[in-house]
């Protein structure tokens, strides 16, 4: 096999693929955020003319500031206020982009978004990386416990208690400094904080007072205890270079505070301060099919997105796997090294690290990818490293007499591969490929971290509104179960069909 492969120039194929890839990357690249103030006002002009859309990053799992309704539309105080401020500033198009709270500042730095509007506290630490608007709402941390809890009344009582906090928020840092004896339970989303107290996984929640009160207003079962812990203020976050946009928003905010538009919005979302501090639990069934049926449309959209992601990354994975597999079989050492390095690096590091590096890291090198492109690329690259080994193993397992017989008839090594070796190898690949694509399907839920509204993220936003974690996760689990079983079925059917000659 060694001698026979030598004459075929796999490196040409590999090189072509690499050049193609570089081309895509270069196209996807946009200029890194500039610090030139002239470009800032140029951007504002483009936004006002409607040529550009204002990209607003938000984690819509934080009622009443930002959350998602049954039809998948974002709503809340921040959403309304940003729309009003943009309109007052003459900005025509506004687009809200879903992302985990912790990703908002990196996304601003990477020029993935123009504004962060997600109930962000103004802090000196954050202000090093991004700029803040003037205060648009006074916040501050409050402490919340179950309605029957009588042991926690003050900050001191939190010593040794489990306290639920949302990862990446001010609460984490503040508790570490002011009540280091509290055991922090760090959860991803806002609703998981309150749920963990209701489910007994935590004794208390420390979070923004408006959010806690909104939960009590909606769901009940919790009460606020003690005094307001801190006195921070909420601000909107901007890229350091976007001073013109920030100034325009500040001016509009001042106007709205004077003309009554601002007061109307606070009344709409926060209601009457006096009645909001406690409330009895509202009756809530364990399984609520309505949480699914009411959100059929966004769930369907999420499902379609998930299928698109799986389909595209599966094709990419096969392509990377074929290239990698043949690279590893190449007679030419440098090409073999590339194949070996690819497998060892990609298979040897966590998928989530690769995904974040592609989406949040590459922009620092001037390569900015759409979330969907980044997600599919990361999944394809990751899965392709496993497919590489599957391809290599399957091709090596084909009897070398097959290649010799083909070459002795005068067939080229390419023709022998195409007609004889690869078809036989493909049959052997099918069972491990089926396994790999089942893995890929399950990993696709992780691309929700780069703001792709696929099935899992849609589920999370439904939970943030309905608090029906059990119902929604069972449903989503079932959908994945069906998809992975269909893949398994296709693989085994294909295998039976192709195995006629065995």
């Amino acid at each position: 096999m060694k001698v026979l492969f030598a004459r075929h120039r796999w490196w040409v194929v590999l090189l072509a693929a690499l050049i193609g890839f570089t081309g895509i990357a270069a196209q996807a690249a946009t200029a890194a955020p500039s610090t030139d103030p002239g470009s800032s006002s140029a951007k504002l002009t483009a936004l006002q003319s409607g040529n550009q859309t204002l990209r607003v990053g938000t984690d819509a799992t934080f009622p009443p500031f930002e959350f998602t309704d049954a039809n998948g539309a974002k709503m809340g105080f921040d959403i309304d206020l940003i729309r009003a401020l943009a309109k007052k500033s003459g900005i025509k198009n506004v687009e809200f982009i879903q992302m985990p709270f912790g990703n908002i500042v990196p996304a601003l730095q990477a020029n993935q978004i123009d504004v962060g509007a997600s109930a962000i506290y103004i802090s000196a630490e954050r202000a090093k990386a991004i700029d803040f608007s003037d205060v648009y709402y006074p916040g501050g941390l409050g402490m919340f416990v179950g309605e029957d809890n009588t042991t926690v009344k003050s900050l001191a009582d939190l010593a040794g208690k489990k306290v639920a906090v949302q990862v990446g928020t001010k609460s984490v840092e503040w508790l570490e400094q002011n009540q280091p004896k509290a055991q922090l339970v760090q959860v991803q989303t806002n609703d998981q904080m309150f749920s963990s107290v209701k489910l007994g996984q935590a004794d208390a929640v420390v979070t923004g007072q408006p959010a806690g009160r909104y939960f009590i207003h909606q769901q009940g079962g919790l009460k606020q205890v003690g005094e307001r812990l801190t006195n921070e203020n909420y601000g909107y976050a901007f890229q350091k270079s976007d001073t013109a946009i920030k100034d325009a928003f500040n001016a509009s905010l001042a106007t709205m505070k004077k003309d009554g538009g601002y007061d109307k919005l606070t009344a709409k979302w926060f209601g009457d301060e006096a009645t909001a501090a406690s409330g009895p639990a509202k009756a809530h069934a364990l399984i609520n099919i309505s949480s699914i049926t009411n959100s059929a449309r966004p769930l369907w959209n999420g499902f379609v997105t998930t299928m698109e992601i799986i389909g595209m990354s599966l094709v990419l994975s096969l392509a990377f796997g074929m290239l990698g597999g043949f690279a590893k079989l190449s007679k030419i050492s440098p090409i073999r090294w590339v194949g070996t390095a690819y497998v060892s690096i990609i298979r040897g590091t966590p998928f989530i690290v690769q995904l974040f590096m592609i989406y949040f890291g590459l922009p620092q090198l001037g390569v900015q990818l759409q979330p969907m492109v980044a997600g599919v690329l990361a999944l394809g690259l990751y899965s392709g490293s496993y497919v590489t080994e599957i391809v290599r193993g399957a091709i090596q397992s084909v009897d070398k007499g097959q290649m010799e017989a083909a070459r002795s008839c005068g067939m080229s090594s390419g023709a022998a591969l195409r007609h004889i070796i690869v078809p036989q190898a493909f049959l052997r690949m099918l069972p491990p490929l089926g396994n790999e694509f089942v893995s890929l399907t399950k990993n696709s839920a992780l691309v929700s971290f780069v703001t792709i509204s696929e099935l899992f993220l849609v589920g999370q936003t439904i939970i943030s509104r309905t608090f029906d974690a059990l119902t929604v996760y069972i449903f989503i689990g079932l959908v994945y179960y069906v998809i992975t079983n269909i893949i398994g079925f296709i693989a085994s059917t294909l295998e039976k069909k192709m195995a006629v000659y065995i």
């Binding site: 009897d399 007499g401 097959q402 002795s408 005068g410 067939m411």
Partner: protein, 243 residues
Amino acid sequence: MALLTTKAITKKFGTLDVLKGIDFTIEPGEVVAVIGPSGGGKSTFLRCLNLLERPTSGHVLFDDEDLLAPNVNLDRLRSRMGMVFQQFNLFHNLTALRNVVLPQINVLGKTKAEAEAHAMELLEKVGMTHRANAYPSQLSGGQKQRVAIARAVAMSPKLMLFDEPTSALDPEVVKDVLGVMTDLARQGMTMIVVTHEMGFARKVADRVVFIDGGVIAADMPPEEFFGEDNTNPRVREFLDKVL
């Protein structure tokens, strides 16, 4: 004019000298039986003729072309040299018919209809038309080898190389395969046959080449080789063992 000539070919596998300088010639229409003890270099010699193994040094001239010259079109030259393997090496993923058809289409550029007509003719000659649509896994060893011979002959080669074609077969089907090879020889095919079948060498071959220790130790007509007058001690020792 010789069809194929080798000049001083050697082959090393690592530090092992398998061939130590072989000069060999075959004329069109000749049938040469290559015999000798195991490990003597017979198969390596045969595989050097179509460059499945690349000789370490020396020359292989076939049809007036030097196979080891740079820029030589090896695929074209190989298509004029059919090869039959001990382990048959039929393409597992293709039926008997497709095995014979694919190289004709892929290498000779025949149409599917031409290739299939020619393939069916040859399968008829080797008595395999009734199994034309069977996959190799459904055929017996003797049947596989007959299809493999048809596949090689279908390329209309000038020379056929046989690498121990009957060694992996059950004794009762060896005769079928040797019969097919004898027919080919009678039709004037030039053949080099590495074999342990002394009967075939004696009756069908024009010359017997005895390879031992990486060199040609004897090259003569079969009647001389197998005759009482052959006093070569290595040949005698070998013949005493196998006959």
